[in-house]
């Protein structure tokens, strides 16, 4: 039984069919990369899975449950966490508080007005663990908005991790990072998957990152799935090459 199942998912923006009848299956423990030229519909696909935009047609099933069109926060509560292409943080709060808020989101006590000390303590412990995991503990007390670009990206991953997700969607996690930072991020992402019951979908432009991380690659082009398979197979596909060279129509 796949963890995530997209069934004929489409989204139209006016005359543009941004995502066109996409079928996709992601198994538990799988890492899937979604690649494709700019405007291929990768970010829209993420927004459809997380219900930020509602599909024009098709269904999204997660853990054997239809989650199509659920409010954004309820999709998150089902166990889907995401990062954004442009970092989304709480800039005037400390890095630790950013992650703590993320951990608290999955806590039953997140509504408490009074007597929530146990909730605060619990989420702070989870936040420290997530920060440590991403190697950010030395920045814990810095304001998120003052961190460097690379650390902000890692912080958003730490937040997603603190949500204890079953599926993690990463939108270009290495965008704008130096080679060294990219290596660091890839190592961390790999280690995260090594001992966790976690699936991951990442949108990524850096092919090297894709080939180092992904079990499967889906190529999107003009909203459609162009190719789908293990990295090595997709790499050799003539169709994919021509799509990137702009000859495919």
């Amino acid at each position: 039984m796949p963890l995530l199942e997209l069934d004929g998912l489409s989204r139209r923006f006016g005359a543009l069919l941004a995502v066109d009848t996409v079928d996709l299956r992601v198994e538990t423990g799988e890492i899937r990369a979604i690649i494709g030229p700019n405007g291929a519909g990768k970010s829209t696909l993420f927004n459809l899975i997380t219900s930020v935009v509602k599909p024009t047609a098709g269904r999204v099933r997660f853990a054997n449950e239809d989650i199509t069109g659920l409010p954004v926060q309820e999709v998150a509560q089902k166990g889907i966490a995401r990062t954004f292409q442009l970092c989304h943080l709480f800039p005037a709060l400390s890095a630790r508080e950013n992650v703590r808020i993320a951990a608290q989101a999955r806590d039953q006590g997140r509504w408490r007005f009074f007597g929530g000390d146990a909730v605060l303590r619990r989420s702070a412990e989870q936040a420290d663990a997530a920060l440590q995991r991403l190697g950010l503990e030395r920045h814990a007390d810095a304001l998120a908005g003052t961190l460097g670009h690379g650390d902000q990206r890692l912080l958003e991953v730490a937040m997603a991790l603190a949500q204890r997700p079953r599926l993690l969607l990463l939108d270009e996690p290495t965008q704008g990072l130096s080679v060294k930072e990219t290596d660091h991020t890839v190592d961390i992402l790999k280690s995260m998957l090594a001992d966790r019951d976690l699936s991951m979908i990442l949108v990524e432009h850096d092919m090297e990152v894709v080939f180092r991380l992904a079990d499967f690659v889906t190529v999107l082009h003009r909203g459609r799935v162009l190719a789908d398979g293990p990295p090595a197979v997709v790499k050799e596909s003539a169709q994919v090459r021509s799509a990137y060279l702009g000859e495919f129509a």
Binding site: S43, V72, Q73, F84, L89, L93, E97, I101, W111, F113
Partner: protein, 326 residues
């Protein structure tokens, strides 16, 4: 010195204040405390959740009118009347908050203003009940349960108001530090992210508006029996504007700041209006000066947290506002 020492020190100072003041000053000090409470209630919305209300007079007016009518027409003890007025306002605030939180930013501000003006208009529409432009006068201060009557005197009333203000401050302080309250800061910082983490941000905002109405109504309910009357101007947009100015001048997002801002505003207004007719001009200048040179407000200046108040932080952030659905 931690905050507890500061709190106890301030409470003692306030408790002893009436003995250091001439009798006639006591009236204005009571009003200052009431306005401080009102400003603090608005700070829950403005400072912690960046919900700019231009209609907080509605909370104040509702509390004052509800309390006035209850005390005048039913022989209720004063504390019961005040608490009932708060409860009534909270119930009325729920649908108002539900509608207002459907929108954000400027439209949220306009909706809150619209509800306050609606209340203002209704006072004239239902003259028989509300007294129209005359308002409600002759509001008594009936003795409390067990014949506690000390708040019938002005000094006694001062302590009642002080007790309510300090109690409300402790409650609000606990709320903004609770799991609930920390989410408000997250919503203020980036609502899209807060929602994508799994928080139902609309409900958090709704609860915040209702809480702010509740504490604002307490201020109004304390005011009506003290002044002995409730007039339509309590509902007027000028009142809303004044409270908002108090929050900004005092220091949004600090709770203490708006209390100081509210108190300072009222006392200064009282003093200045005796000196000159153009006192609003001076106020305008002070307000502009704070917005331009000290956006962290009075409390921010005192504690030296430059540029760290909610408003300052939000101003610094506007340029990096992220695009949600890109």
């Amino acid at each position: 010195m931690n905050w507890k020492h500061g709190f106890i020190g301030a409470a003692l100072l306030c408790a002893l204040l009436p003995f250091a003041l001439p009798q006639y000053m006591l009236t204005i000090v009571v009003e200052a405390l009431i306005f401080g409470l009102l400003a603090m209630s608005l700070d829950l919305m403005v400072g912690y959740c960046r919900l700019y209300s231009f209609g907080h007079a509605a909370a104040y007016g509702l509390g004052a009118y509800a309390c006035g009518m209850l005390l005048k027409h039913f022989a209720l003890p004063l504390p019961i009347g005040i608490l009932l007025a708060v409860a009534i306002t909270v119930v009325i605030a729920i649908p108002i908050a539900w509608i207002c939180t459907r929108s954000t930013g400027v439209s949220f501000a306009m909706l809150t203003l619209a509800f306050a003006q609606l209340g203002y208009a209704m006072l004239y529409r239902f003259k028989e009940i509300t007294g129209g432009s005359d308002g409600i006068d002759g509001i008594p201060r009936p003795p409390g349960p067990f014949n506690i009557a000390w708040f019938e005197s002005k000094l006694g009333y001062y302590y009642l108001v002080l007790f309510c203000l300090l109690g409300s401050y402790l409650l609000c302080r606990a709320i903004v530090r609770s799991p609930f309250g920390t989410v408000l800061a997250a919503i203020r910082e980036n609502e899209v992210k807060a929602r994508s983490l799994g928080y139902n941000t609309r409900r958090y905002k709704l609860a915040t508006v209702v809480l702010a109405y509740g504490f604002g109504a307490l201020a109004g309910a304390l005011y009506a029996p003290f002044a002995g009357f409730a007039s339509p101007e309590l509902f007027f947009w000028l009142t809303s504007g004044r409270v908002l100015i108090m929050v900004v001048v005092g220091g949004a997002g600090t709770l203490v700041g708006p209390i100081l801002g509210g108190g300072a505003f009222l006392i200064l207004e009282n003093e200045l209006s005796q000196l000159t007719d153009s006192w609003p001009l001076i106020f305008g200048t002070i307000f502009i000066a704070f917005v331009m040179f000290a956006p962290q407000g009075i409390w921010g200046l005192i504690t030296g947290r430059f540029g760290r108040s909610a408003i300052a932080a939000s101003a610094a952030r506007t340029e990096e506002a992220p695009d949600a659905a890109a």
